[in-house]
């Protein structure tokens, strides 16, 4: 990143204003036991949103941050999966699509261990939860111990990782696979375009989107994409969400997903040690996963990690932010760290007007500055990359990204994402993880050790 892109450090009054604004978003979006990502667009509890939210909420209330993760884990299935949505029972079913009526988790997922209540989706999102739980614990260890937080969440998080590395090792090479574009959390990334061509979309009259009543169509996935998402989810449901039975037409190894699994596995090691148990098995697993991540997904010519399409067993020829997030892995080889830093600072990801990282290659054929994960810059990936840069002692780069994050978060009204070419706010405003991660950058010790 160039000096031109470095902004001023927020002044004390500006930081105070930003901190108050972020706290206000988190208080406004709290529903009693968890936080909605947005009051307008997303009225339930989302899995990786909750993890990022907890990371910020710990600075406002350690108890609320613990509750955030506990209420998500209350929706965990007996096979270990943590569903990507836990539905609020009091919210009408038509407030969001796909609703509980679509997923039918308590009935259709029963055989593989879906709870009788609450209703949930059947797919998952990136496993950032153990990292979040460890950071939440560290924020107030006394309150954590008083509430028995770690002893309660640790076994559930272990089961979650076990699920991903057994049932979801669809490539047989020891990495976790995603079976739906919603699972890596980057729903309409061009990384999925070719794989989705294999999927016949569900008929448009077979479903009614709820995201377009509040969201702008230009900011959201297209109807054709949506038809394919619905088809894949329907197929999975018809297989009763049983990964041994389901024939996945979509299966991929995602760099961000697996990088977060590694970082979270290291958090499990820290938790285990805190609980007087052995941390070594988790550390060993993280190291093995790191080797597999590099072997399976690193593209040396491109200088970043790629998605592997497991149906064709090839790397997907697209550059996306998911390929940069593995910077967050502590034991990444030093030469890869250097290459990733160069890529971050190169023509594909150095945005002209925004100091954040675009979600997709600025020079790529599918780049769309406004549409969700096809170009816009998101705050959670910026937070992760910032953390990764700091982990690898690239402090100046990390500081610039941190300053850019805080400036954009404040200027955009804690937007869901921003146009990387103009810096304009896009998607929902007062978005919970944007506020939470801003609060974290303002309050956390920048040198807080990575587990």
């Amino acid at each position: 990143m160039t000096a031109l892109l470095a902004g001023p450090v927020p002044t004390a009054p500006a930081a105070l204003t930003l901190r108050r604004g972020a706290a206000r978003v988190l208080i406004d979006n709290w529903t009693g036991a968890s936080t909605v990502p947005s009051r307008t667009l997303y009225p339930h509890q989302w899995s990786w949103d909750s993890a990022f939210i907890a990371i910020g909420l710990r600075h406002l209330s350690a108890r609320r941050a613990q509750r955030e993760l506990e209420s998500l884990l209350a929706g965990q299935w007996a096979d270990g999966r943590v569903p990507h949505i836990v539905f609020h029972p009091a919210v009408p079913h038509d407030a969001y699509f796909p609703s509980p009526d679509f997923w039918r988790s308590s009935r259709t997922g029963r055989a593989v261990g879906a709870p009788a209540a609450p209703e949930t989706s059947g797919i998952v999102q990136p496993p950032v939860h153990a990292l979040a739980a460890w950071l939440v614990h560290r924020a107030d260890p006394a309150e954590s111990r008083r509430r028995g937080f770690l002893p309660r969440v640790y076994p559930r998080l272990v089961a979650w990782h076990d699920y991903l590395l057994t049932r979801r090792d669809l490539g047989g090479a020891g990495l976790a696979a995603v079976v739906h574009p919603w699972e890596p959390g980057m729903d309409n990334s061009p990384c999925w375009d070719r794989a989705l061509l294999r999927v016949d979309p569900a008929a448009p009259d077979a479903f009614r989107r709820a995201d377009l009543t509040r969201g702008h169509p230009a900011d959201r996935p297209t109807d054709l994409d949506y038809g394919r998402y619905v088809r894949l989810a329907t197929d999975y449901r018809q297989a009763h969400y049983d990964d041994r039975r389901a024939r996945h037409r979509f299966a991929a190894e995602d760099p961000c997903f697996n990088a977060l699994l590694i970082t979270s596995e290291l958090a499990l090691a820290a938790m285990a040690r805190d609980l007087g148990r052995a941390g070594a098995p988790h550390t060993a697993r993280a190291e093995e996963l790191t080797r597999r991540l590099v072997t399976r997904l690193w593209d040396d010519a491109a200088g970043l990690f790629r998605v592997r399409d497991l149906v064709t067993d090839t790397l997907v020829d697209e550059r996306a932010v998911t390929g940069l997030v593995p910077l967050v892995v502590p034991r990444l080889p030093a030469d890869l760290v250097r290459r990733l830093r160069d890529t971050l600072d190169g023509p594909h990801f150095r945005a002209p007007s925004s100091r954040l990282v675009p979600s997709y290659d600025l020079t790529g054929p599918a780049f769309d500055a406004k549409r969700y994960w096809r170009g816009p810059a998101w705050f959670n990936t910026a937070w992760l990359i910032q953390r990764g840069l700091r982990t690898h002692r690239l402090r100046a780069d990390a500081d610039r990204l941190r300053q850019g994050f805080l400036a954009e978060a404040g200027r955009s009204g804690f937007a869901e994402y921003i146009d990387p070419t103009t810096g304009a706010a896009r998607g929902a405003r007062h978005f919970s993880w944007t506020a939470a991660l801003a609060l974290d950058l303002l309050c956390a010790d920048p040198e807080e050790p990575t587990p």
Binding site: R20, A23, I27, W30, L60, R63
Partner: protein, 266 residues
């Protein structure tokens, strides 16, 4: 960082000067006074002025009587208003910020027999608005503020939640009346105390603190970081005044409060 205060009866020693020594050592920034009836508070004017000259910080007074501006009996009501006016004048005279009062205390509860109060809700409102208008005008003339405190349902039947106090205050149109919040009562009455603080941020003028069990902050189970975080988010810059009972050694209990509040995000 929010400033802390402690009510005078919680402090050891006989004089305000000696109490102030103890309070400062414990880390408090001020003493909250108590205003008894029969114009007792006014009778202390010389004592209060001397204390002020000696550097004692006394920003607020909390009414300490058994009848209030919302009393059923008109004579008691008139007396309560007269007492409060006097207290507002005295606190103004010693350079303070204002006086805190509930609408009533221990007079009636809709949750206890006989359940139906002798006055209708409309009549309650009329009485409260008349009293508040008179007191608010007086406070405005004196350059201080009247803080209206919602109490829990067992202690008052008229003003239990911040939104009820806010509604009455807006109806008076006076900016010399603000809400005096209390963490203990909010814990019982507000579905989300932090959200309630943000919803009425513009009207909150004073804050009293005690824990879920009415003991000193730290002795119960309130989520203090969330409550204090909301006050920060609201831009509140007033005092946190300890009005509580004490559990454990009383002196240790009083001493523990400032450090506990700081540690919880104050």
């Amino acid at each position: 960082m929010l400033k802390t205060a402690v009510q005078e009866q919680l402090l050891p020693q006989d004089t305000l000067q000696a109490k102030w020594e103890f309070a400062q050592e414990a880390g408090y920034d001020a003493i909250e006074l108590r205003g008894k009836g029969d114009f007792h508070f006014a009778s202390r004017l010389d004592e209060l002025k001397r204390a002020r000259e000696d550097g004692v910080v006394m920003p607020t007074v909390c009414v300490d009587m058994l009848h209030f501006l919302g009393a059923f009996d008109e004579g008691l009501r008139r007396d309560a208003v007269a007492q409060l006016k006097s207290q507002l004048t005295v606190i103004a005279e010693i350079g303070g910020l204002g006086a805190q009062t509930p609408a009533s205390y221990g007079m009636f509860s809709r949750r206890l027999p006989p359940f139906e109060p002798p006055r209708s809700e409309a009549e309650d409102r009329e009485v409260l608005l008349a009293g508040l208008a008179e007191l608010g005008e007086h406070a405005r003339r004196e350059g201080v503020t009247l803080f209206l405190e919602p109490l829990n349902r067992y202690e008052d039947h008229m003003v239990n939640r911040l939104e009820q106090a806010a509604d009455l205050i807006r109806a008076t149109g006076l900016d010399s009346i603000r809400i005096g919040i209390d963490s203990y009562h909010m814990n019982i009455e507000e579905s989300d105390p932090a959200a309630a603080i943000l919803a009425h941020a513009d009207l909150i003028g004073h804050a009293q603190v005690s824990d879920s069990n009415r003991f000193q902050p730290g002795a119960g189970h309130l989520d203090w970081p969330a409550w204090l975080g909301a006050l920060h988010a609201a831009g509140y810059d007033g005092y946190l005044a300890a009005e509580c009972r004490l559990t454990g050694d009383p002196l240790d209990a009083v001493r523990s409060v400032p450090a506990f509040l700081r540690g919880s995000g104050a």
